[in-house]
């Protein structure tokens, strides 16, 4: 019986830890560790989107972000592992796509993209999940020194 108790305890403990390690602050901290030694964390953008409904567009979340001319920025994208969705980040200047973490031509995904800004402005950052799947992700904006 003692063995059963231990097994239940461990199973519950690990199940709990596993959930917490995903779509929450741990994801932010984990992603912030990926920015590299030469980068300084500036901000995070957290996104949780439900699965696309039938006959609806792919859900996305947008954020405004002020970027300064002459600064070398880095965008790191991290997905929560307990969600199926794989995030795609896009940075727009008005209607011009400047940066994306997904290359449509090669279908290559980039977990981080550097952006050397030459125009101070308010930009728009979008995050959506491929194929409109449910997903949770975080984008870390950092400054490369």
């Amino acid at each position: 019986m003692k063995k059963i108790i231990i097994v239940i305890f461990l199973a519950a403990l690990f199940a709990n830890v596993d959930v917490k390690a995903q779509c929450n602050e741990q994801l932010v901290r984990k992603c912030a560790l990926d920015i590299g030694d030469n980068a300084t964390y500036l901000k995070e953008f957290k996104v949780l989107l439900r699965k696309r409904k039938r006959r609806k567009s792919t859900p996305s979340r947008s954020f405004s972000v002020v970027l300064n001319r002459g600064t070398h920025y880095r965008f790191n994208l991290c997905n929560a592992e307990d969600y199926e969705g794989r995030a795609v980040m896009m940075l727009y200047d008005a209607d011009r796509l400047l940066v994306t973490t997904f290359d449509m031509a090669t279908t290559k995904e980039y977990p981080s993209v550097d952006f050397i800004c030459t125009k101070s402005a308010v930009y728009k950052l979008y995050v959506s999940f491929k194929e409109g799947k449910e997903g949770c992700a975080v984008v870390i904006l950092s400054m490369v020194r």
Binding site: L13, N24, S64, I116, T118
Partner: protein
């Protein structure tokens, strides 16, 4: 007996599993859950736009990278901080101190940050956002000279404080914090300029015309709040000094480089700042007046 133990144990586990961990205060981490494309500019509040107008680190990074020596003279004094005795003054001072902390961190002066951390702790507690500022952790990081972690945790703390204020009907305090960060960043930059003229810094000062316009718009949305009209007037006087600063744009060819699997994109459009040292001098004088007035309120 064993059954009883099992029931109690499972109940306890269930309770633990359903209780948010103290390490993860915001289990509802994602900012929003959306079912539809959210791309309507008109639905966006001004507070979202100005949220990151003024970064405590970016201006300091530019100054530090320019090789300008560190100086404590540029920073707001830490003595007599009891004079910040209203929420208006406290929120402004919090922004000023955040900017100073960013400057200290960027120069890796962790030995000098404790006094600033202490004031920030008091101000944030008084504004009821102290739960986002882990003074002990930051103090320990400063003492251990762990500057990278100190920068991460202090920046993340300010981001959370600001977010909490904006999402809990205290947007005016958030706007004041941003105004404090901006004026102190500008003060440090213009003071540095007087001693170490630097083209990059001149241009960064000039392009603050855009940020200041956004900031004044944001502050103006709280025009009816006490003390805001005088503050807006002060910022508008600085705005007047930017009238002769011109910003033009030039289209160029975008450049994409892939290095070791990493993508680097160099923007094609350039903003060109037309500003003279005389303009900087006028801006500098006005920024100094307003900043000194705000920290001595």
């Amino acid at each position: 007996m064993v059954k009883k133990i099992l029931v109690i144990f499972c109940s306890a586990l269930l309770f633990v599993a359903c209780t948010p961990s103290s390490d993860n205060p915001d289990v509802n981490i994602p900012d929003h859950v959306t079912d539809e494309i959210d791309d309507d500019e008109s639905t966006e509040s001004m507070s979202d736009i100005i949220e990151n107008i003024a970064s405590p680190l970016e201006m300091a990074n530019l100054i530090q990278a320019s090789g300008v020596p560190f100086s404590l003279r540029y920073l707001a004094p830490t003595e007599d901080s009891d004079k910040f005795n209203t929420n208006f003054k406290k929120a402004l001072a919090l922004g000023v101190m955040a900017s100073d902390l960013g400057y200290l961190n960027m120069y890796k002066k962790s030995g000098s940050v404790i006094n600033y951390l202490r004031i920030i702790q008091r101000l944030s507690s008084d504004l009821r956002i102290g739960q986002f500022f882990d003074f002990k952790l930051l103090k320990d990081l400063a003492k251990a000279d762990n500057v990278d972690s100190l920068m991460y945790h202090s920046t993340a703390s300010f981001n959370r404080m600001d977010k909490y204020l904006r999402e809990n009907g205290k947007g005016e305090l958030s706007a004041l914090m941003v105004a404090g960060v901006w004026i102190e960043g500008m003060y440090i930059a213009t003071q540095v300029m007087e001693e170490n003229s630097n083209q990059k810094l001149i241009e960064r000062i000039g392009e603050q015309k855009v940020m200041l316009n956004l900031l004044v718009m944001s502050l103006s949305s709280f025009q009816s709040e006490p003390n805001f009209p005088a503050l807006i007037t002060d910022f508008k006087v600085i705005q007047e000094q930017f009238t002769n600063v011109q910003i033009t744009y030039e289209i160029g060819l975008p450049e994409t480089i892939e290095e070791d699997g990493k993508l680097i994109i160099i923007q094609d459009e350039k903003s060109i700042i037309h500003i003279t040292e005389e303009h900087v001098k006028l801006i500098s004088e006005q920024v100094e007046k307003v900043r000194n007035k705000l920290i001595s309120l």
